[in-house]
């Protein structure tokens, strides 16, 4: 009879999760954002979104639509990786993964826990919950998931 060894998990520090997140941002920039950058033939030397909209008012809809698509695909990146592999590329690099606190990890849980990642500001507020010392973001708690080291 084979004994199934339980995987041992340990709590992960905020900084490790942060660096893993930054690595994921680099990947998202290459995979999701770059195709849109290639379309911007008009180089905006001023690098000012306000100038871009002002000089091309008919493009406002396109710009907003682009923002929404990038946000959806960014969240999809994390949700898909965590659902299929329990970890995004950044988490893989730093040896951390996502587990469900109730049974097996569902896609809805992965989607819920990553929903704030389309906005840095929302994510910041989400992370403030970690001050209580349990190592969980608010949406980690909501989705009943936890990030652990392997």
């Amino acid at each position: 009879m084979k004994l199934k060894m339980r995987e041992s998990f340990y709590a992960v520090s905020f900084w490790r999760r942060l660096i893993a997140y930054l690595v994921d941002l680099v990947v998202i920039n290459l995979v999701v954002v770059l195709p849109f950058n290639l379309l911007f033939k008009e180089k905006i030397a001023i690098n000012d979104l306000g100038f871009l909209i002002n000089s091309n008012p008919e493009k406002l809809f396109s710009i907003v639509f682009t923002g929404i698509i990038i946000a959806i695909l960014s969240v999809a990146y994390w949700a898909l990786f965590e659902y299929f592999l329990s970890q995004s590329l950044g988490k893989m690099l730093f040896g951390i993964k996502v587990i469900s606190l109730r049974g097996s990890l569902k896609f809805s849980q992965c989607l819920l826990r990553n929903i704030t990642k389309f906005s840095s500001l929302l994510l910041l507020f989400d992370c403030i919950y970690m001050i209580n010392g349990n190592g969980m973001r608010y949406f980690d708690k909501l989705s009943k998931t936890k990030v652990v080291g392997t």
Binding site: V27, V31, V32, V33, L34, P35, F36, L38, L39, F40, K41, E42, K43, I44, A45, I46, D48, G50, F51, N54, S55, N56, E58, K59, S62, I63, F65, T66, I69, I70, L73, A76, Y77, L80, F81, F84, L85, L89
Partner: protein, 300 residues
């Protein structure tokens, strides 16, 4: 492990494909012909000036950049300068005039209320000038006038302690009277700038230099007078200016795109805050000292 890598690669490819397909759907860049409208409003300086809620003038740094951007944009076929400026610094005006001359796309100047002095210099560099019959233009000349307070200070017992290492170092100081030698020096500089201004206008407008010299008394001309003198090409407004730009560009229809920066509330507040912190650090007294020897040579 292989399965893991395969899944990761599939997810990445899937996301890239969806992203690329979405970017094709989004019509961010269209190929319609465009005319770039670049406003030149207010006093022309290198940085545009304007602190806090003061209205900003025209920044030659920005305007030259806009002209260059319009030239790089393959959809922009022509440039319309919308001018409402009394002029400004010689260097800033020349920078813009040179950028206009070097533009590969045709440039038309449309003078609205005022397009005088340095602003006229800029207009003269363009292919065509359109002005309203009542626009104020011309004023081909240079001024370096400033207020001089020596008598006022003497009245209140304030003296000027002169400590310089070169005899002309404090020429133009508002705290002392100009002597004849200094006056001659400053006038000579102003005359040199004036000569350049006249040469440029004569060359740009293909007028006889002596004729331009006669007009270059600093007098401003109404649009209709300037038209009779050959200083402007057409009398009219925006529609005429636009039609002429399209004609020069060889296009029938064009979309207008406006090249200008709008100052938001954070720019205004940031500018106020930055200025205040700068003066706190530097000391109001040293600021008065360092600003006293600027000779404001302007084309206004």
């Amino acid at each position: 492990m292989t399965k893991k890598i395969l899944i990761a690669v599939l997810i990445l490819i899937g996301l890239f494909v969806v992203s690329y397909a979405s970017s094709k759907l989004v019509n961010i860049s269209d190929n319609r012909d465009k005319i770039a409208v670049i406003p030149i409003t207010g006093v022309i300086t290198i940085d545009g000036g304007g602190i806090g809620f003061e209205s900003q003038g025209a920044s030659s740094t920005d305007i030259v950049q806009y002209i260059q951007e319009a030239n790089k944009n393959s959809n922009v076929k022509g440039i319309l300068l919308e001018i409402n400026s009394p002029g400004g610094s010689a260097v800033a005006s020349k920078e813009i005039a040179d950028a206009v001359k070097n533009s590969k796309k045709p440039v038309v100047s449309w003078i609205r209320e005022v397009g005088a002095s340095g602003a006229y210099w800029i207009s003269s560099s363009s292919k065509l000038i359109v002005a309203d019959p009542l626009s104020i233009t011309g004023s081909i000349g240079v001024t370096g006038s400033y207020l001089e307070f020596s008598d006022l200070f003497e009245k209140y017992g304030v003296t000027y302690e002169r400590l310089v290492s070169g005899k002309y170092k404090d020429t133009g100081s508002p705290y002392k009277e100009l002597n004849d030698d200094e006056k001659r020096l400053l006038q000579d500089k102003i005359n040199q700038i004036h000569e350049v201004f006249v040469d440029q206008v004569a060359g740009n407008r293909k007028l006889n230099r002596n004729e331009v010299e006669k007009l270059a008394t600093g007098e401003f001309y109404l649009g209709k007078e300037a038209y009779d003198l050959g200083l402007v090409d057409y009398l009219g407004g925006k529609d005429l200016a636009l039609n002429l730009t399209k004609q020069l560009a060889g296009i029938k229809e064009a979309e207008l795109i406006r090249y200008e920066k709008k100052r938001g509330i954070f720019d205004i507040v940031g500018g106020l805050t930055a200025k205040n912190f700068y003066y706190m650090g530097k000391g109001i007294g040293s600021e008065i000292k360092t600003s006293s020897y600027e000779i404001p040579v302007r084309l206004e």
